[in-house]
Amino acid sequence: MGMVARTHLLRLHWRDNDGAESWSQIYLSAATDYTTAIAHMLAMRDLAVALSSAACFGADFSIRYAENTAPAPAPESDNDRHGVLIFGADPDLLAIVRVPSIQSSLLLASGPYAGIALDQDAPALAAFVEALASGIAGIAACDPFGDDLGALATAYMQQT
């Protein structure tokens, strides 16, 4: 398996006066350094704003990688079956990470929540949660407000 860089994607977000939204997108070479690409996006936005009567309310810079030798999914794979990891202690500030097609082997095999709750002691899951909470390369995951995730509160399987 190998992850290869794709072209960078710049997306400008627009909204009109009845709330409808649309976007413009422009690609840059994957070799473009990130700081220069962001500066380009913001400068391009200024040029685009002069051409439109809608409001440009946002701009996203996407660094994209794709697997060029992806193996076939397992026959039992199902992206509607999620592992749901809920972090935090304050009910108003919970953060969720959803893992598609969670392995059934990670579900508890016994007890009242057998087949529903995820086994938080499973080494692979514990390593994943530790990386989210404690970080990789000095960076830990955060909630939508930019605050630390906190401890894992609960983890279960959800079919959607």
Partner: protein, 167 residues
């Protein structure tokens, strides 16, 4: 209007299952994270996510977003009208760039074709084909955009906050 960096960077991992259904897993990291560090984080999390799933990881995106910090003042506009710029590229592949709700002042008298003599239009096209801030835009396959071979107004359906627009 001024854009401000969002408080979080979105790291989105894509997975495909046996029915070819695609799904994503989003992890947020602080918005001040350097892009190169975000890539290191994403690569590390990808390696830890693969053992948890029986679908296939097909890629990931690191999305650094900026949003308008102040209140939006939006005049009469309609994003379902788009200025469509059909582009040529160095690899002879065609591509397009769309711009929602074009001002009438950048259209020719027929209210349909783009007026290339308009100074703002000219600046925008030059930025696409000659570069801006030292960067040359490309098509999706990474080939430099070289010119515009047509430009006109087109009507396409849009969405409201990700939902189908009514009416």
């Amino acid at each position: 209007m001024a854009l401000a960096l969002k408080p979080t960077i979105s790291v989105v991992f894509s997975f495909r299952d046996n029915d070819n259904k695609n799904s994503t897993m989003e992890v947020l990291i602080p918005g001040a994270t350097a892009p190169a560090t975000a890539i290191t984080f994403a690569t590390g999390m990808a390696a830890l996510a693969v053992p948890l799933v029986d679908s296939t990881l097909t890629g990931f995106n690191v999305v650094i977003g900026y949003r308008e910090a102040g209140a939006l003042v939006i005049g009469s506009s309609d994003v379902e009208n788009k200025a469509l710029f059909l582009m040529t590229a160095a690899n002879a592949q065609q591509s397009s760039v769309t711009l929602p709700s074009p001002l009438e002042s950048i259209l020719q008298g027929n209210n349909q074709d783009i007026d290339y003599s308009n100074a703002d239009v000219s600046d925008f096209i030059d930025a696409l084909t000659l570069g801006l801030s030292g960067v040359q835009p490309v098509n999706a396959s990474g080939s430099d955009l070289t010119g515009v071979y047509d430009g006109y107004k087109q009507n396409r359906r849009s969405h409201v906050n990700g939902r189908q627009r009514k009416g």
